[in-house]
Structure formats: C-alpha cells, structure tokens
Symmetry: C2
Subunit: 272 residues, 2 copies
C-alpha cells in the first residue's frame, strides 16, 4: 500500500530534478513548501515528501527542519555540446572515447513510415539494427537504423558493431550525398530507458535522419534518441538579409571559428 | 482508492500514445497483451487497463474482446516542420497565423546562468518576459526571454505583446549580429503544461538561444519550449570533405531549394 503512489512521486521527482539540473533552480534556492508543491503538481503532501526524500538521497537538496528545502546542486557532468550535423565526428574531434553495443540486427519489412521515407518498393525488406553508443563508458544515444536489404547485405553484423555505418555504406559503393533530419522530443519507453540507464518517462531528444545517395535514393533511415542530461545540440546562427527580409541563417565558416575560440575560452573559464 | 494509481496509468498512457503518434505503432497494429504491457512497464494489469481505456476514449485504439487491442490512429494534425534557425519567419512564410500571449513581464536580477550568458555586470538587472505563441489558435511554444534592462526599457509591455522581440531590439538601435543555440529535451512542469495545454510530464523540445550584437554583447537570452506533437525542427545536410575528413554540413542554398521542392511534393502527396 505504501508503494502505490511511487510513480506519481517519481514524476514529481523527475520534474524537480530536471529543474535543478537545467539551471532553472540554483544552489541555495529554497524550493516551494510541501503544500505549494502538492498543489502545483496536483498530488498529496506524502507524494511530495517522497519526491523530496529521493532528491535528498541523491544529494540534490538539503531539507532543513523548519527552514525548508534548499537546492544543493550535485556536480552534474556538463552535457556534451556538439555539432547538430555530425555528432560522431564531433565527439571524435573532442577526443571522447566512443564505443557501440549492438542490441538487435535482422531483416524484415519495415514500418510504413520508414518504407516511405526510404522509398522502398512494396514488400522490399530492410536491415534493422538497434545500437547504443557509449561515450566515456556511459550510454549516450540509442540508434535504430534501417538500410535497404540490397545495401545491408554488403556488411556483416560484426562489422556494424565495430565500424561507423556511413563508412560501411560508402565502402559498399553508395555515394552518400545529403540528408534531411528532424529534431523532436519523446518520453523514454521501457526498452529505451533500460538501454540508456534512465527512468521510464524521462525526456529524450529525438532525431530522425534520412540519408540519400547522389540519385536521391534513400540509403539509411536513422531514429536516434539522446539523453539530454549528457548531450545538447549546438548551432551558431548569423543575422542575414536586409530590412523586412532579415532572418537567422546557419553561421558560415568564419563564425564557426569564432565559435570554437569562444567555446574554448568558456571551457578555460569553467576549468578554473 | 480507485484513483491512487491514476498517475502510473497516465504514464503508461502517455508512452503508448506517443508511440502511436510518432509512428512507432501503426493503424491496425496489435498492442502487446495486458500482461506483457504490465511486465514491460512494471505496473499492475489494472493500471494497464486504465491506460488502454483512456486511449480508447480518445479514439486511438480499439479493444476487441478476445482479439486484443488494435491501433486506430486518430487523425493527428501533422507537426509543423520548420526551419531550426528561424521559426517565426518560417511560420510566417508558410502562411500560418501566429499570435502571442504575454504571461509575465518585469525587471529583476536574472538567474546566474542567464546573467553569465548575457555577461551582465554584477547586480545588473534584466527584463524578463514569458510569452506563449499560438499558431492557428493553438498553443505552440512557451518563450521565456531576458533582455538587459538598458535595452528592455526602450519598448513597452504592450509592444512586446504585439511585435516580434527582435524587431523591437533592432528598433532600439541594437545591431543584432549572431546567436548561439542549444537544443535539448525536458519534461513539462506544471506551469508550462498549463500554458501549453498538455499533460504535466510530457516531453518538450527545449531551445536555448543567446543573441549577440556586433560587439559581442549579449542582448537576448531565450529559453523556448516547443510541443513536439505540433512541431519538429527540420534541417538539410550535405556530405562534404574527402576521405577521412568526410562529414555532414548544413546544406547550402542549392540544396535548400531542392528541399523546398521535395517538401512541396511531399505535402501534395499527403494532401491526397
């Protein structure tokens, strides 16, 4: 009986933890009282107390009798802030050790959304693989890829577990040319949560990328999920155009180098 | 008593709803049985039944006695897939009607993360505003902005409620030059959930942008939250470089026009 409202307490805990981790609440800040938190989250005070106890166990808050609950920010590892276009190259360039675990590998007819994106013929099969990328030994991203069977058969399961997929595609003679991607957010399902070592229902960055060859044929469909506590996509923009036509555009190389030097300065600052 | 595990049922409901809405489950697919779902989510069968009943009420599944639960995709409005660099210009270009509600407006010392990003002097105040952008009459994004006080005082609360912030900054003589942005994912807190008309604990796209003037001074800090069921960021990439240096880069104008025509074709296809 005591455990039935654990899930609600976990939800309150997740939301508060995220507010602290994201910088919305700061070290020394006082959290609202139990009654206010209960009203805000539409739960009982017992539920709020459980959530706060969990935060205290993790060292994120101090509860002082009569004084309130104080944020005590545990030293969270800074997220890797990397290039939205090319996560893997960016990680390698930063000297981060990355490693891949292959969770599933096989052939079959993909879901219709994937078949449509890859423009497969009716009944055409695809290779489906599920991988988890580890960065510095910690789960970092969950990657579900589909590749048309005619291309997938040019490499083995073992090769996929040890080499970047794009390198395998290019080795097979595919002329990888361009890609479209969409970025959204999803809740962690039970299988993904287990693979990424996070709570079910945590927020994840969702990136869907379709890669095309020079003839415009789809050669890879990637559905990638990233832990936002370990990763943020970064991009630099510049203001272009004149008058009513002024708008943001991705920064050119000149600004990219500005970004790198600024970013380097920032890291030096943090390291002090 | 009957209500105590509603939150857990809601979590199962949210995860299943998202799998259906995101295309992970398709019209006609059979959901796993109650026992399998209960084991997967680590909840009771009663909780699973509540979640399925909620999905059925919303018309997303059919439960057929003895046969199982079938996905019946309610016609969800397609997310607006827009330019990651310039959401507002993109929406306007698509002819979407947008409108803003100003929820909060005032001056004070911002949180240290914001003060640091804007490089405010110690004790320097900033204007803080919270706005909800409506697209076609529905809540779409939740925008919290900070602007240094010296710039903020050049426009009024009423002007902010009716004109784009960047236009107001440029009118004040600020030479808006470039920006950096980071994209992540967060769970909806109670206040944001209420403003965006979604469930607490839903996944949101989080975009943090810092805008600089030509001298490199921070002029705006934006923390934007987007509903992923109504929005996805889109970008086009091209493969550049040679041999080991091959990598993804944002597509140039040539590919942008390819994207537009392809995107137009896609929309024509969907409209049938």
């Amino acid at each position: 009986m005591a455990g039935v409202d654990v899930p609600k307490a976990r939800q309150v805990y997740l939301v508060l933890r995220e507010r602290i981790a994201s910088g919305g609440l700061h070290s020394g800040d006082v959290l609202p009282g139990e009654q206010a938190l209960a009203a805000e989250h539409n739960v009982s005070r017992i539920t709020v107390r459980k959530a706060l106890a969990e935060l205290e166990r993790e060292g994120m808050v101090d509860r002082r009798r009569g004084a309130g609950t104080f944020v005590r920010l545990a030293a969270a590892p800074k997220p890797v802030v990397a290039d939205i276009a090319d996560v893997l190259s960016n990680l390698v360039a930063m000297g981060r050790g990355t490693d891949v675990r292959l969770l599933a590998f096989g052939y079959g007819e993909p879901a219709s959304a994937v078949a449509e994106a890859l423009r497969l013929a009716p009944g055409e099969r695809a290779q489906r693989s599920v991988r988890v990328r580890m960065v510095d030994g910690e789960p970092f991203s969950h990657l579900t890829t589909h590749v048309p069977e005619r291309i997938g058969v040019t490499y083995s399961e073992a090769e996929l577990a040890s080499r970047p997929l794009l390198a395998l595609l290019e080795r097979s003679g595919v002329e990888v040319d361009r890609a479209t991607q969409e970025i959204g957010a999803v809740l962690a399902t039970p299988d993904v949560a287990a693979a990424l070592n996070i709570d079910i229902g945590s927020a994840l960055i969702a990136l869907t990328r379709v890669v095309y060859d020079a003839e415009g044929r789809g050669v890879e469909h990637l559905a990638a999920l990233y832990r936002p506590d370990r990763y943020a996509f970064r991009m630099d923009l510049e203001r272009t155009g004149a008058d009513d036509g002024r708008r943001w555009s991705p920064a050119t190389g000149e600004h990219q180098s500005t970004k790198r030097s600024r970013s380097a300065r920032k890291h030096e600052g943090k390291a002090q």
